[in-house]
Amino acid sequence: MRPVVLLPAICLLATGASVSHAQMQRRGLCEPPAVTPPGFAFYFTRAVYSDYARWGRPSWATDCPEADQHFVFGLKRLTNIDAFGLQHMVSLEDSALRNYPFLYAVEVGRMALTDTEAEGLRNYLLAGGFLVVDDFWGTREWANFAGEMERVLPEYPIVELPMDHPLLDTFYQIDTVLQVPNVRQGRWGGRTWEQDGYVPHLRGILDGEGRLLVLISWNSDLGDAWEWADDPYYPILYSNYAYRLGVNLVLYGMTH
């Protein structure tokens, strides 16, 4: 290999390593805070679910707690929601799940629900809960997630949300669905997709009366955009979009 080719490659690796290092540095422990006071109107609740065994932190904990804290901080600044400012997570098996009608789940491409979790999520959604799914990519992860949803809500299909859906103008007017890249790709400014997830989608599962039970943000990573919104190298375009969509999702979930 010629030195003129090697040098950029080394720089690239170094940059990637430094980003990875930075990511590791920012990642705090995804644990509940010492005290979660009751009485807030809104808790940004992260779904704790089982996944296929792998190393490191579980899928549900991706970007936690920074993404949660950053998003809630923005949410409180942009709206007048009385929201709890720290991370909050509940297992799908926990009956307390029903006390939090808004639920956020990430990396569902590796979701592997137990029967109890599937039943808990089903009851949650049919009782009136609203699930937002984020940060999973490509056909393989989609197939896994769709299979899990088939277990949870077999009677309702997953559909593409039209651009005139009320969710897209609940607070901000959103005219296009952007693909939000992860932090690494966002900083580099290169491709925005992962695996074969080239096109972002907003899909949903609606009940028999047309009520949106699950909002699926596929081939996009809102969580990273929230978490890295304060990073000068992460494009503001994506953070801006992620916050706008996130605020709309929360408000839609609290009103519809």
């Binding site: 009485g39 109107a41 809104f42 009385d82 009956s95 009851n123 809960g129 009103t255």
Partner: protein, 760 residues
Amino acid sequence: MAERLFELLFKYRPLVFIRGDLVFASPVPLGVVLGAGVVALALAAIAYHRRHATLRGRDRAVLLTLRVGVIALLVFCLSAPALRLSTVVPQQNVLGILVDDSRSMRVADQDGETRGTVAARAFAPDGAVMRALAERFRVRVFRFSESLERADSVGGLDFSGRRTDLAAALAAARRELSTVPLAGLVVVSDGADNAGGTLAEPLLALAADRIPVHTVGIGDERLDPDVELTRASVPRSVLQGAAVVAELSVRATGFGGRTVPLIVEDEGRIVSQTEIRLPDGGEPAIVRAHFVTSDPGPRRLRFSIPVQDGELLAENNTTEALLVVERRVERMLYFEGEPRFEVKFLRRAVADDDRLEVVTLLRTAEDKFLRLGVEDSTELQAGFPRTREELFRYRGLILGSVEASFFTHDQLQMLADFVSVRGGGLLALGGRHAFGAGGWTETPLADVLPVVVEPVATSDTGRFFAEVKVEPVPTSLEHPVLQLRSTPEASAARWDSLPALSLVNPVREAKPGASVLLTGTGPGGPYIVLAAQRYGRGRAIALTPQDSWIWQMHADIPLEDQTHETFWRQLLRYLVSDVPQPLTASLSADRVEPGQALTITAEVADSGYVRLNGAVVHATIVDPAGASQDVPLRWTVRRDGEYQATWTPSMPGIHEVRIAASQGNQPLGEWTTYVEAGDVGAEYFGAGLQEGTLRRVAEETGGRYYTPATLRTLPEDVSFTESGATVVEYRDLWDMPILLLLLVGLLSTEWSLRRRWGLA
């Protein structure tokens, strides 16, 4: 008995003394008789003083007193006391006998005989009473029920009148007999007046003419044994599909403690059957029947209790009421000051109720609003309404977690006027900006709310939070809002099993006129959870928890459970029930007899609910045959915006009454209601003897009250009258047996004392 004893001692009956004036008819001047008496007293005193000086002073005083009594009696007798009475000239006066000819006289509570039979026998033409009356008077017999008519005799009555109008009968008799010398009237009745007329006017007129009205009460005050559904109270109109609680007054004698079914029929279809326990002793008790309305339009509801063995009256076990089931959509505004899940779940709870429309205005950020359920793009475009016209379009207003300082002073006053002037329903929800925490303490709305809005101490910077177990107040368990299940017992069980809610507003005190429906027990409690009160023309409700949605989402709530939906639908329906429109109207009764006059009253206001006196108001009445009749309503002058007309239905059946108002070319509104003409069976309710009414008639006109047992003195009593052609008659009193007894008694006592003390 007492009267007979009185007559034995005093020679005449008490009435003679009441009617007569005491006079002294001595041929010698009264002064001479009194002077002689004084001299005799003086001589007696001197004699006792001289001849019986050895007696103790007390003994002498006793003897002297006895002697004084004797002399006083003699002086009284020598004065020729007499009663001066005004009595009728025989055959020169007319006596009117008014006999109740209504159906209540068919009640067989007189030892197996009907009241009518007893009346007919007591006033039989050849009976003692009528013969004695005929000797003194020219007797004219009348029958009365709805109206007064001449009758040949009491025996000829069939007692079939469907209503008793005593006031009208007395007034008509006075008119009818105004051209003849009238000695008095005799009313023979059970006194069960059910026409609703006021007696004061005819009684005053009769008293002014000095025409005594004697009353003869026939019947028992309490029917025993009997069960009576006295009164059914249902809302005038309800929304289709609404849960209705009918209140019924039940009176029973002789069946105390027995459990019987209370059946509700809607146009012949049984819609509810409830087991009730009968009260005893004839005292009324309130029972409630619960049912859900189905078909729209005027509904004839029939409430009944099966006839029990041996009941005196079967017809009063059934009563009817007219209920208008409306198909209109109740539009209300829900203004929420901050995003919270209550918005989602409240809207979801009533989404399937096509009678309720909740327009939501949610403040999502400062000066940014989300509108949901608006009619068009202009509705609430500028945020919360700024004019009365804009706000008063809604029939209900739900106020969420929003601070008082959000509103201008005019808007705050407008909120209060929404309830008091417009007559709308206001529901205040708990939240971090509600009640005291929202600075509502000294606002006009604080007066409207059914709870005391306590200020939050400025030093109190912490968030108040309490989880409370919600419990219905026992006395409110049958309130329509709290009917979570088909029976009160099942509802109570459901309330008991509901999960706790959270409060961020510590509301502990209700206003004096408010009804507390739900309370919450928890740390620092109890708290008020749900309270309601009327305020002005409208209604205000406070629901203090911030998360009623827990009753939908909680893990203990089964997915198919409808508690949350039922609660909210009933609460919102109750909130807007009876909310007036710019034009509202009412009828004096919803069920009348054909020929019975009905008053139509309309209240007219403009879109800002300012009452109008210059409107053109008329009613179009469509009878059961489809023919319509126009009746104009006129301003009453008594109250701003109030118009009235009187109309009398002529045929049986349900009549539609459509009222329209306009001013110039501007229509102000329309109102449709219904009235049923038919046999309302009024005679079977409250059919016991109304002795108080009959006594009042007699006492206020100078007459007397009789029963069949005391009737024998009636002919003579009636003779003592100042009305008609009369003569003055004197009746001696000096020969009253009581005087002789007193004289003998005094002399005997004196003689025996004198013997005891050795003076004789």
